[in-house]
Symmetry: C2
Subunit: 290 residues, 2 copies
C-alpha cells in the first residue's frame, strides 16, 4: 500500500483512480480542475481531495496525471501550484495522458534534476478498458522507476510494457493510433461498399473476420457501424488531438504518413457533420452522408 | 465420391485440385493452358488431364475453375472449346477465380439457360491456405446448388459461406480486399513511424497487437515487414487486379473509396520499384524507399 495522488478525473482518470484505491489498496488523494468532480469522487470512493496539484502531490510516493493535452499537462506539473514543485525526492511521477514525446522528455529531465523519476505512460483500451481496469499501458522511462511503478499501475491495467527511455511510451501510443487510422478507414470503406452492393453485411463479417481482413475494429465495431451508432467510445475530437501529435512527431523524425494525414482530414469533416463526440468508427457516417 | 474437373492449375488451383483428389476422394480431371503443368499434376497426384476445358468438363458432376481474370474465365467457359459447351444438365459449375460480379452473373444466366448451376466462389487465405486446404470460400448462387457443392468444396476449405445470389461471392471478396488495402497501409505507416522513432518494434507490436490496433495483418506480417522480406504471399500484381475490380464495381454501385483508390496508386509505385511479385505488405517498402 502506497500513498498515491491522481490528478485529472476525466472519463479515463475517474475510474483509474478508483482502481488504485479499491483494487490496489492504496491511499489515494485526487485533484481535478473542476473541484466538484473531485468531491464527487471522494463521496463515492473515499480517499481525499486536494485544492491544487501541488497539495495533492505532497508526501506521495506515486503521482499520476491523466489530463487533456500537452498544455494541461504542463499546467498541472510545472505551472503555478503544479505537482512538480511538491514532489518528494525518490517519488515516481506517472503520466497517463496521451501527449507529445517532447513534453515527456522535458518532464523527465526536470524530474531527474529535482531527484525524482518521471514515466510517460499513455494507455489504450478506451473508457471500457479504464472502467474494467484492463488498460494497456505503454511506458517510457528508466527501468528502475518502471519496476517500482509497475505493480501500482497494474491496478488498472492488463498489460504494462516498458518501451524504452522517456518518450517511448508516447511514441508507442502514436504507432497504435496511426495503425488504427488507416485500419478504421479501410473497414469503413469495406462496410460502405458491401452495403451499397446489397450484401448481408453481418454474414459478410462473419465469413471474413477470421481471415486476412480481420481486426479488433472489425470484430468490435462492425455491428455499431452498420447500425449507425456512434454515441460512445473514443471521440473524434480526441482522435484528432492524437493524430496531430503523430503528424507533428512525423515531421520531426521524417516518417511519411499519407493515409494518416488524409484520415485526419476526414475526421475534420466528421467534426463538421456534428460528430465531435462520436466514436472513431464514425468514418463510415462520413462515407454515407448524402 | 464425384466426378470432378479442375481448370486452372496456378499457385492456388494446383493444390486445391490435389485436395479434391486426396482429401475429397473424388475422381479428378485437370486442364491447364500450359499442358506441361497438367501433366506434372497428374504425374504427382494421379487422375487424368484433358486437352481442352470442354473435354475436362464432359460427364462431370462438378466443374471447377481457378484462372487469372474475367477474360481468362470467359475463355475457359464460353470461349471455343470452353467448359460450358460440354457441361451436363444438373451439374454444378464452381468458379474460384477472383473476378467481377458482372461475369459471375453472366455465367449464372448462361448456366441456368443450359440447365446446370453456376456458383461464384472466390477464396481467401492465399497460397498457404490453398496448400493446407484451409481456405475461406465466399459463394454466390442458389441455395440448392450450394448445398450440393459445399461438401465437395470443403476438401480445400475451412469455411464455406453462401453470401447471396450470383455475384455475391465476388462482392464479398471485394469487401475483404477493400478492408485489407486501408488496413495494410495503416500498419505500414505505423511500423514506418515507429522505426523512424527508434522504437523496438517487436516489443511495440507485442504490446499493441491485442488491442484496438490489432489485426490479422499485424499478427502475421509485422515480422516479415520489419525484416524487409516480401518475396512470398499475395502478389502486388494480383492485389491491383482485385482493387481494379473493386473500384470498377464501386463506380457502378456508388460507393466512395478514397483510401482504396489511393492505396491502389501506392501499389502502382511498388510495381515501378520492381515489386510486382512482392507480397501485399510491401507498402512498407514504398514508405522506406530513399
Amino acid at each position: 500500500m502506497a500513498k498515491v495522488a491522481f490528478i485529472g478525473l476525466g472519463v479515463m482518470g475517474y475510474p483509474m483512480a478508483a482502481h488504485l484505491l479499491h483494487k490496489g489498496g492504496h491511499e489515494v488523494t485526487v485533484y481535478n480542475r473542476t473541484a466538484a468532480r473531485a468531491e464527487k469522487w471522494v463521496a463515492e470512493h473515499g480517499g481525499s481531495f486536494a485544492a491544487t496539484p501541488a497539495k495533492a502531490a505532497e508526501g506521495k510516493e506515486f503521482v499520476f496525471t491523466c489530463v487533456g493535452n500537452d498544455d494541461d499537462l504542463r499546467s498541472v506539473t510545472i505551472g503555478p501550484d503544479g505537482a512538480f514543485g511538491a514532489m518528494e525526492k525518490g517519488a515516481v511521477f506517472i503520466d497517463n495522458t496521451t501527449a507529445s514525446a517532447e513534453v515527456a522528455r522535458e518532464l523527465a529531465q526536470k524530474a531527474e534534476a529535482a531527484g525524482f523519476d518521471s514515466l510517460d505512460a499513455p494507455v489504450s483500451g478506451g473508457q471500457a478498458g479504464a472502467e474494467n481496469g484492463v488498460l494497456t499501458v505503454m511506458v517510457g522511462g528508466k527501468q528502475s522507476a518502471f519496476n517500482r511503478a509497475q505493480p501500482v499501475i497494474s491496478a488498472y491495467a492488463r498489460m504494462v510494457g516498458l518501451m524504452g527511455p522517456a518518450g517511448s511510451g508516447q511514441l508507442t501510443k502514436m504507432v497504435n493510433q496511426i495503425c488504427i487510422a488507416g485500419l478504421v478507414q479501410g473497414l469503413a470503406e469495406g462496410l460502405h461498399f458491401g452495403s451499397k452492393a446489397g450484401l448481408d453485411m453481418l454474414k459478410v463479417v462473419e465469413v471474413i473476420s477470421k481471415g486476412a481482413a480481420g481486426s479488433w475494429q472489425m470484430e468490435n465495431r462492425h455491428k455499431t457501424m452498420l447500425d449507425g451508432k456512434y454515441e460512445f467510445g473514443f471521440a473524434v475530437d480526441w482522435m484528432r488531438k492524437d493524430l496531430d501529435i503523430c503528424l507533428t512527431e512525423a515531421d520531426r523524425n521524417g516518417a511519411v504518413l499519407p493515409v494518416t494525414a488524409l484520415v485526419d482530414q476526414f475526421y475534420k469533416e466528421v467534426q463538421a457533420m456534428g460528430g465531435r463526440r462520436w466514436d472513431t468508427s464514425s468514418l463510415l457516417a462520413r462515407l454515407e452522408r448524402k
